[in-house]
C-alpha cells in the first residue's frame, strides 16, 4: 500500500502550534500529562467496569524517535517480524490493541495462529485488553458481547481456542465481526424492498386494527339496540300484567278516532271509504261537495 514511514513520528506540526495563544488565560484546568486512559482513570470519572488493568501498559507503549510515548501502531510489531508476510499486520493487533498482561503471555502463541488466521488474533488481542489478564475471563465479555458460548469455559487453554476461533470466525460472530465486513452490502432495491415490506406490514396491522374496532363498535351498537328492544318488550309485558292485576282493561280502539258528528274520519285506511268503492253514489245536490263528509247542509 502507500508509504507508511511518516506515521511513526506523528503528523507534521500544525500551523497553529507555532504561535502562542493570543488571548488571556483560559477557563480550563491545565492539561494533564499522560495518555487519555490514564488521565481519565486518574480523574476517577470513568464508569466502573470501563477501566482495564494498566499494570503492563508499558509493554505496549513503544518509545519512538521523538522520545515520547505514542500508541502502538499496527505495523509496530513487538512480537517480531515473522515470516508470515502479508498477515503480519493482522496479528499485530494482538499487541497493538490488547493492552495488559495478555501481551506478554500470549505473544508467542499469538504469532502462531495469527499467521494462519489473521483475524482471529486480533480478537484475541481485544480479549486480552478487556480481561486484563489471562484465564477465565479472557475471551469473555469483550469480544463476544458478553453472551454466547464463547463466554465461559474458554479460558482453559488459550492456544487451542485461539486457533479454533480463527477457523470458526465466519459464522458465529455475526455481523459485528470487525474482520468480516459485509462483502456485498445489500443493494438499493433490496433495502428498498425491506423498507416497503415494513411499510406494508405497518399498514396491514393498522387496517386489521381498524377492522376489529369497527366490528367491536358494530357489536356494541347492535347489542345496545337489542337491549332497548327487549327492554321495551319487558316493560310492556310487565305493564300489561300490572294493569290486569289492577283490573283495568285498555279500551279497545279498533275504529279510528271519530270525527265530528260521529262520522268516521276518512283516512288512509280504505275501509272507511267503502261507499266510494261500492259504486257511484247518487250525486247530492251539491254534487261532490259532501263526499268527504262534513256536508255543510247536514
Amino acid at each position: 500500500m502507500a508509504t507508511t514511514t511518516q506515521g511513526a513520528s506523528g503528523p507534521p506540526p500544525k500551523p497553529w502550534e507555532r504561535s502562542g495563544s493570543s488571548s488571556g488565560p483560559a477557563p480550563f484546568r491545565p492539561p494533564s500529562a499522560g495518555t487519555t486512559s490514564d488521565v481519565v482513570e486518574a480523574s476517577g470519572t470513568a464508569k466502573p467496569g470501563e477501566i482495564v488493568s494498566t499494570s503492563d501498559r508499558n509493554n505496549t507503549v513503544n518509545t519512538n524517535a521523538v522520545g515520547r510515548p505514542l500508541p502502538t501502531r499496527p505495523w509496530e510489531n513487538n512480537i517480531g517480524n515473522s515470516s508470515y508476510g502479508g498477515y503480519n499486520s493482522g496479528m499485530t493487533y494482538n499487541s497493538g490493541y490488547g493492552s495488559g498482561m495478555y501481551n506478554s503471555i500470549g505473544g508467542g502463541y499469538g504469532g502462531m495462529s495469527g499467521g494462519m488466521y489473521g483475524s482471529s488474533m486480533y480478537r484475541g488481542g481485544i480479549g486480552g485488553g478487556i480481561g486484563g489478564g489471562y484465564g477465565g475471563g479472557l475471551y469473555g465479555s469483550g469480544m463476544y458481547g458478553g453472551g454466547g458460548m464463547y463466554n465461559s469455559g474458554l479460558g482453559g487453554s488459550m492456544g487451542g481456542y485461539g486457533t479454533g476461533m480463527g477457523m470458526g470466525m465466519g459464522g458465529p460472530f455475526g455481523p459485528q465481526d470487525p474482520n468480516n465486513p459485509p462483502p456485498s452490502p445489500p443493494g438499493f432495491w433490496i433495502s428498498f424492498l425491506r423498507v416497503m415490506e415494513g411499510v406494508v406490514n405497518f399498514f396491514g396491522r393498522i387496517s386489521l386494527l381498524v377492522d376489529q374496532n369497527t366490528q367491536a363498535v358494530h357489536f356494541f351498537m347492535s347489542a345496545l339496540l337489542q337491549l332497548f328492544d327487549r327492554g321495551g318488550m319487558l316493560y310492556g309485558e310487565l305493564a300489561r300484567f300490572v294493569f290486569r292485576i289492577l283490573g283495568l282493561r285498555r279500551k279497545s280502539n279498533k275504529i279510528g278516532p271519530a270525527g265530528p258528528n260521529g262520522l268516521p274520519l276518512p283516512g288512509p285506511d280504505m275501509q272507511n271509504d267503502q261507499r266510494l268503492l261500492e259504486g257511484p253514489k247518487s250525486a247530492p245536490a251539491g254534487a261532490w261537495d259532501n263526499v268527504w263528509g262534513n256536508d255543510a247542509r247536514r
Binding site: 500500500m1 502507500a2 507508511t4 511518516q6 506515521g7 511513526a8 506523528g10 503528523p11 507534521p12 500544525k14 500551523p15 497553529w16 495563544s21 493570543s22 488571548s23 483560559a26 477557563p27 480550563f28 484546568r29 492539561p31 494533564s32 495518555t35 487519555t36 486512559s37 488521565v39 481519565v40 480523574s43 470519572t45 470513568a46 464508569k47 470501563e50 482495564v52 505514542l70 500508541p71 502502538t72 501502531r73 499496527p74 499486520s89 493482522g90 493487533y93 490493541y97 489473521g118 483475524s119 486480533y122 481485544i126 485488553g129 478487556i130 469483550g142 455481523p175 459485528q176 470487525p178 474482520n179 465486513p181 459485509p182 452490502p185 445489500p186 438499493f188 433495502s191 428498498f192 423498507v195
Partner: protein
Amino acid sequence: MPVFKTPFNGYSVKFSPFYEHRLAVATSQNFGILGNGRLHILDLSPTPSPTPISELTFFDTADGIYDVAWSESHDNLLVAAVADGSLKLYDLSLPPQQNPSRSLPEHTREVHSVDWNPTRRDSFISGSWDDTIKLWTVDRPTSVRTFKEHAYCVYSVAWNPRHADVFASASGDCTVRVWDVREPGSTMIIPGHEHEILSCDWNKYDECLLATGSVDKTVRVWDVRSYRTPIAVLAGHGYAVRKVKCSPHHRNMVMSCSYDMTVCMWDFMVEDALIGKYDQHTEFAVGIDMSVLVEGLLASTGWDEMVYVWQHGTDPRAT
C-alpha cells in the same frame, strides 16, 4: 481544480493530517436515510494531469457513513461514524479484506460526528443521535467514558486543538456544551441559538473561541470566558448552517456550508464578514474541510454526490 463524483451522497470530507494530497470522503446512499455507505480515500495528483483526483481505495459498509476522522497518531488509520451506531476503524496498510480493522458498536443510534484528539493523539470522541458522547482510545476495545447530558441528538463534537482534555459538543437541544474529560459533567453550557445547533469548532489560535452553526441560519463565534453574548453573528446563509470549520492558518477565518447549497468563508473580526461564497454544489452542501498542510486548500462535498477540492479564491468548477 479537482472534482470527484461519488456514487452516493457525500456527507463528510477530511484532509489527511499527514499527506497534503490525501483526503477521505464519507458517503451514504439515498441521502443517508436508507441504504449503504462508502468511505473513499482520494489522492490528488501533485502535477496537472487528466485525472487531477484519483481514488486510492474505498470501503463499503452496510449502513451510511456520516462522518470520518483521520488518526493523528498514524497516517493510515481513520475512523468512520456509521449510521448503525458503530464506529469503524480502517487501516489503509491492511489488505482490504481485513478492513474495517475494528468495529466499535456502542451507540444505540446513528453516530453523527467523530473527532480525533489532535494534541494527545491517542483518543477520539464520537457524538451520536442517542444523545451521548463517547470517548475512545485506540488501546481499548470499549469506550473509556460516556458523556450523557444533552437532551437531544448530538450533532457535532470537536476537540480543543490547544488543550488535550477539553472538547465541545453541539446538540439539537439548542446548547453547546464544553467538557473536560476529567470532570464528571460538562463544564460549560452555552445556550447558543434559538434553534438546533448542527456544528461547532474551536478556533485553532485562540483556545477560548468557539464557532457554532445552527438551523437559525447563522454562524456565531463565542468566547467561552464570557458566553452570554456571541463575539460575532455571521448571517448570510439562506438556510440552516450544516458545518463550520475554523481555519488552521488564519485566526479569524471561518468556513461554513449550508443547506442553501453554498460554502461561505468568513472573517469574523471585520465588519463585512463574508469574504467568499462558493455555489458549486447543486444540492445541500454538508461536508467541508480546510487543509492543515496547504494554506487555502479547501474541500467540500454534498448531496449532489460531488467532491470539490480547490484553492481559496478560485472557482471550484474551473478545470
